[in-house]
């Protein structure tokens, strides 16, 4: 079930930080060309190698770009939350998504037609903000390359749980071992093993499809440095 229900909010709060950094006038002009949509948990927004029709400015939630490696494995190569925009390829002039995008944490977003973004981002403050955001996506991609290669499964699991926690704004959220495994690029059994160790230590509790964080401070102690580095990027 969607966390959002059929929300028909009239005044859209400026929760997307990229849009919030625009002048009020520019934001209001763009708002007429955007549509308020829910982001549903595990919803797939882009299929691989599909032409991007819409870009999304999340107000809340978290979207992961997950690259398929082979038939059974995927790994997250980047993520987009309320500080950015999904569909940066449209801005960069290559509007085909090489990687699928999947909603990891439910939320809402403002959705804009790709053609509109292309036109609007040629100049002005939206262009500058998207350059900034591109910079952080590139830096985040570099960090992911390091994290996937060097860090241990239990530290990476803590890191992912913290990203999800922060985006959910709650210590309780829907999540499966399978989805975590697909983000981390490891087998589900390895996630389950690391998760049960955290459960034994009373850091999290887990029932099928649901994680509750019991000890946030401990999670922050065990995570790899990537969590702090990525938080510091914003």
């Amino acid at each position: 079930m969607s966390l959002m229900g059929d929300s028909t909010t009239i005044s859209v709060p400026l929760e997307n930080k990229l849009l919030a950094a625009l002048s009020k006038k520019e934001y209001e002009r763009l708002l007429t060309q955007m549509e308020y949509v829910p982001l549903n948990y595990t919803e797939v927004l882009y299929q691989p190698n599909e032409r991007i029709q819409h870009v999304y400015f999340p107000n809340s939630g978290l979207i992961a770009l997950t690259s398929p490696v082979n038939k059974s494995s995927t790994t997250a190569v980047n993520m987009i939350g309320s500080s950015g925009m999904l569909g940066i390829g449209v801005f960069l002039g290559d509007p085909v998504s090489p990687t699928p995008a999947i909603v990891l944490v439910a939320g809402t977003a403002l959705k804009m037609k790709a053609a509109v973004l292309q036109k609007e981002s040629r100049r002005g403050s939206l262009q500058r903000l998207l350059l900034d955001f591109t910079h952080s996506q590139l830096t985040l991609a570099y960090q992911a390359a390091i994290c996937n290669h060097y860090h241990q499964i239990h530290e990476r699991l803590c890191c992912w749980l913290l990203y999800i926690h922060d985006a959910a704004g709650s210590t309780e959220f829907p999540m499966t071992h399978n989805l975590l495994a697909n983000m981390m690029g490891v087998r589900r059994e390895e996630v389950s093993k690391a998760a049960s160790a955290l459960q034994d230590d009373k850091v999290i509790s887990y029932r099928p499809g649901h994680v509750t964080i019991l000890n946030l401070a401990e999670l922050k102690k065990v995570t790899c440095e990537c969590y702090r580095i990525v938080k510091g990027m914003k």
């Binding site: 770009l65 690259s67 490696v69 494995s73 790994t75 190569v77 980047n78 940066i88 390829g89 801005f91 960069l92 002039g93 290559d94 090489p98 990687t99 040629r122 500058r128 350059l131 900034d132 591109t134 910079h135 996506q137 590139l138 830096t139 991609a141 570099y142 960090q143 992911a144 390359a145 390091i146 996937n148 290669h149 060097y150 690029g185």
Partner: protein
């Protein structure tokens, strides 16, 4: 391959070659030819970028580091692109170490000049496209670092190096490859010894000779063909 090092295009660097002729000629006084020697370091991480480089030949690897000793390559830049994309993204700090992987030549430009010039559309369009290519390549590096074994990755790296070197024999050390691939030197030496035994390469301290390119292509991970196929088109 022969030992021709002369660029085919009169401009040499593909990004500059894609500029309107008048634009290129206007930029020419700000482009200074420089040589890139094997293992030269162009940028250190977290240091300000003074110049950007448009390679005409050779290849530069961008390394991300976990700590002083553990590094891994996240991007490679050849005559298809530019080193110092952060300047375009309005963040004049390099997150990477940029190290010359294959010797060659480049045209360099002061960072301030690029910053000014990149606000003009023809160059901005090319830089946007190239940024997308770097992002896609970094995403592939995340996959490759994590999923592919040392033999597959070494074969891919030797093919990338061979492509850019344009000659069958080039300077290379196991230590250098270790820094690119983020694995211990001993593992590189072991993989290289197996390649040598199978007459794919011959190795003398500090130099590698490619003997059987087809054989390397049979071993390399698919990242080699993926990255080749996704090379930027302006």
């Amino acid at each position: 391959m022969g030992n021709s090092t002369k660029p085919r295009s009169p401009v040499g660097n593909q990004m500059l070659a894609a500029l309107p002729k008048k634009e290129y000629q206007r930029l020419l006084p700000d482009l200074e030819p420089v040589t890139l020697a094997f293992a030269d370091v162009l940028y250190e991480p977290d240091q300000p970028i003074r110049h950007v480089y448009f390679p005409i030949s050779g290849m530069v690897s961008l390394l991300s580091n976990v700590n002083e000793r553990a590094t891994t390559a996240v991007n490679i830049v050849g005559k298809d692109g530019m080193i110092g994309i952060q300047v375009f993204l309005e963040m004049n700090i390099s997150p990477n170490r940029a190290v010359v992987h294959v010797a060659g030549t480049a045209l360099r430009m002061e960072a301030e000049v690029l910053q000014r010039e990149s606000q003009k559309w023809p160059l901005e369009r090319l830089l946007r496209r190239y940024t997308q290519a770097l992002l896609t390549q970094a995403h592939q590096a995340t996959i490759c670092n994590h999923f592919h074994n040392v033999n597959e990755r070494l074969a891919s790296w030797l093919l990338f190096t061979h492509d850019q070197a344009g000659v069958d024999e080039f300077p290379m050390t196991h230590q250098f490859m270790s820094g690119m691939m983020g694995v211990r030197r001993e593992e590189i030496s072991k993989a290289a010894a197996a390649f040598q035994k199978n007459k794919l390469i011959s190795y003398t301290p500090g130099r590698i000779r490619i003997l059987n390119r087809t054989g390397l292509k049979a071993i390399c991970c698919k990242c080699y063909s993926i990255i080749r196929a996704k090379s930027v088109t302006y």
